[in-house]
């Protein structure tokens, strides 16, 4: 008799706990994001490096490709995504290297929260950095080359592409910083794996820039969404074994 009473009581208790666990998880994510953003706001190391680097890449493309009007039409999305990918790698590498340098990662791992909360926190702050860089590069490119890149479709693709790139990039960056060849490892690991995301982003952006019909762009956008989901899921499942000591 007693048992039948305690079971629903325990279930009710569990139910009460459930939202608080989710809230705790979100809180942990927010704490990591806040920590990264606050650190960045004070030092401005990462964003300034990413930005200057992104602009330099565009400058180099300008000389390398002679970006005149007809060329620009066909290569703009490619140039943009190469720039984002390079600047993104720089940011991902740095954001994990500072954790490793002063033993901050160990401190983070000691926190009594789910490890995946740390992953999501790092991923979200990396995404924020990447989006800030993109938010500056896109208008700058429009201005420099007199082409309007401020287009809702293109912005949507940029956000989706960045999510996929950062999702897998954060996972691989946390692996790369723990190897002997840490600085050169990340691009080698990341680029071949991120190709589906980059390919889909380039094709979809090109479609929006050239004003193609939706039916021609959608397969690429769908591929992009699929890879966003896959990469987030894989990283969520494997992050534990990447940081485990």
């Amino acid at each position: 008799m007693k048992k039948s009473l305690t079971v629903p009581a325990a279930a009710a208790l569990e139910k009460q706990k459930q939202p608080s666990r989710v809230a705790g998880f979100l809180k942990a994510i927010l704490a990591v994001v806040w920590k990264d953003l606050a650190a960045e706001l004070r030092s401005r190391e990462l964003l300034s490096a990413m930005l200057v680097f992104a602009l330099l890449v565009i400058l180099i493309f300008n000389f390398a490709l002679e970006l005149d009007l007809p060329t620009r039409r066909s290569v703009t999305s490619g140039v943009l995504w190469v720039t984002f990918a390079f600047a993104g790698t720089l940011g991902l590498n740095r954001s994990m290297a500072i954790e490793k340098d002063r033993g901050c990662l160990d401190g983070l791992l000691l926190a009594p929260v789910d490890r995946s909360a740390i992953y999501f926190g790092k991923a979200i702050s990396n995404l924020v950095f990447m989006l800030i860089v993109e938010a500056i590069v896109l208008p700058a490119y429009s201005l420099l080359y007199n082409t309007n890149l401020i287009n809702p479709g293109l912005i949507g693709v940029t956000i989706l592409g960045s999510i996929g790139y950062v999702a897998v990039g954060t996972l691989l960056a946390s692996m790369a910083v723990q190897t002997r060849t840490r600085d050169i490892m990340l691009p080698i690991l990341l680029f071949p794996v991120a190709i589906p995301v980059l390919l889909a982003s380039v094709k979809a952006s090109e479609g929006f820039l050239q004003g193609l019909a939706g039916a021609e762009i959608m397969p690429w956008v769908n591929l992009l969404i699929v890879y966003d989901v896959i990469f987030i899921a894989v990283a969520f499942m494997t992050f534990d074994s990447v940081v485990e000591e």
């Binding site: 071949p192 794996v193 589906p196 990447v242």
Partner: protein, 231 residues
């Protein structure tokens, strides 16, 4: 040193005999293709090496996942062996494909989705081997390479799907072809028989190589442990 198991010895001899038989079949039994003539002979080994590459890829992905669950070092050895074999066999596939493509497509290489995917797979493997080289702790090395193989194996479904998803010039030998698949042909029964025999032969070769490679790595591990004992 542990001697080779008798099964492994038999397997080694069997795979060499099968290999010779497959060669004989390709050159003596299979008929000449009408338009491509002798160049088409490359196809049998091209398919078979690609098959081994795929087997290796799947074995590596599965071994990686099992390692992440069980944390047993033997799965890591299996994964690494599968990756190395797959790397070599995909490379052979690409080279054989180029030899065939030169006369048929009139180019060594095109940026066709399938070819590109094969190249990406090679790069993923190379990255994985580099990653392994950069980590000293064997336990961490195993974990990282398992995670990376898992992430990398997600690029292979595209290889399978690409031929249907994108318009491609790579011929689909099994299934339907469109006019745009340059160098496609319909197989006669002897050709099919040869192809399946080659697939079988290379599967045996794969198993043999995998076993040898795992054994070699086990010996390496044993040496490492001895050295640690002495030090």
């Amino acid at each position: 040193m542990k001697p080779q198991s008798p099964t492994l010895k038999i397997l080694t001899i069997l795979s060499s005999l099968l290999f010779l038989a497959a060669l004989a079949m390709v050159f003596l039994y299979a008929p000449l293709e009408e338009t491509m003539n002798y160049v088409q002979k490359v196809f049998y080994f091209h398919i078979a090496t690609a098959w081994v590459g795929m087997l290796g890829f799947m074995a590596a992905a599965v071994a990686g996942v099992v390692y992440l669950v069980r944390h047993d070092r033997k799965w890591d050895l299996l994964e690494m062996a599968a990756i190395e074999i797959s790397l070599v066999f995909f490379l052979i596939t690409i080279i054989l494909g180029s030899i065939w493509a030169r006369p048929v497509w009139n180019t060594w290489w095109t940026w066709d989705p399938r070819l590109t995917t094969a190249a990406i797979v090679e790069l993923v493997y190379l990255a994985c081997l580099l990653l392994r080289q950069g980590i000293d702790d064997p336990e961490r090395r195993a974990r990282f390479s398992a995670v990376y193989t898992l992430v990398g194996s997600l690029s292979v479904p595209i290889a399978f799907l690409s031929i249907r998803l994108f318009r491609t010039i790579h011929p689909v030998v099994i299934g339907t072809n469109t006019a745009s698949n340059l160098g496609a042909f319909n197989m006669t029964p002897p050709m099919l028989a040869t192809m399946f025999f080659c697939l079988f032969t290379f599967s045996v070769v794969f198993a043999t190589l995998l076993w040898h490679r795992v054994r070699l790595e086990q010996l390496n591990v044993a040496i490492e442990e001895r050295q640690m004992e002495i030090l």
